[in-house]
């Protein structure tokens, strides 16, 4: 754990606080940028997202052994992979949807126009959904889950109602 701290200190050395200047408060306008995953093996996880889910690497910033940032994008979905020296495994989560019994961020949800076609493309790449296509009528969506090599669930969604 001490090494993790040293790693974080190195990251801290790379960044410099900026004095915030007072401005009038106004409505906050935000938009999607990314979702971040802390991973143990950034190369293996990258291969999955690039070779299976057709993301592209849009930024790659290795910082020695301490930290490695990699940004991925497919359409409007951004993912930031972060590999940190001596990171620790997250909690054991069950197979979706039971993974949500452990609180905190549960899954990334990406939208497709045709879930069946997406499933067929995944099967052609040897990827079987961890939860097969399922209609969730109260939410007006159909979904399936796949898991990346480190077990992070990705929910693939087709909106069926509106």
């Amino acid at each position: 754990m001490k090494t993790v701290f040293i790693g974080l200190a190195l990251v801290g050395a790379l960044v410099a606080p900026i004095g915030a200047q007072a401005q009038d408060a106004r409505d906050i306008e935000l938009s999607h940028f990314m979702s971040a995953y802390s991973v143990a093996d950034i190369e293996a996880v990258t291969r999955f997202y690039v070779e299976v889910l057709d993301f592209e690497v849009v930024k790659d910033v290795p910082l020695g052994d301490a930290m490695h940032f990699r940004w991925l994008r497919n359409g409007t979905q951004g993912i930031e992979l972060v590999q940190m020296a001596n990171s620790q495994p997250g909690p054991e989560r069950g197979r979706p949807p039971a993974h949500l019994m452990v609180r905190g961020p549960g899954q990334l949800m990406v939208r497709v126009n045709n879930l069946e076609a997406t499933k067929a493309l995944l099967l052609a790449k040897g990827v079987t959904p961890s939860v097969d296509i399922t209609a969730i009528a109260p939410l007006g969506i159909k979904v399936m889950f796949v898991n990346d090599p480190e077990g992070n669930p990705i929910e693939i969604v087709e909106v069926t109602d509106g």
Partner: protein, 168 residues
Amino acid sequence: MRALWISLALAASGLAAPAAAQGPEGNSALQFNHFMVAISVQDIERETAWFVDNLGFTVEKDASVRDGAVRFRWLRNGNQRIELIGIANSQPGPVRATPPGHAAIRGITQVTLETQDIVATRAALAARGITPALDITDVAVLGIKAMYLLDPEGNAIEIAQVVGGERG
């Protein structure tokens, strides 16, 4: 834990019906668009109030199944959606350090939202009584300025402004 599993399985069976799979329509690459990030929460009302009152989200959808044992609430600000899910008897996640140390535990670590003016956003948050867990910081190697907030249950929200010209 076994009871929790059974409970969730019942929830799933109550709301879900398998849909028939059909053949592919083509062989093009997979194309995705952002939809949401799902966050499992203990107090869905408190979490909703925080995102709505402080970050300008609006409630887009509110649904529940199993007599309210599983609750879904979709929040939206611009093109960012967050799905809050409240499940009876859910268990706490790991205790994470203050960002950026929170990433020392693997898994999904944060939702990152983009702003065009991070200083103005910080001022607007301050007017609402919100203090960043990590103040505005120049992350030059990534071409962004970023700050972190923690929601009432400790989930990290990163707010970033691209300053390096390339959004990635």
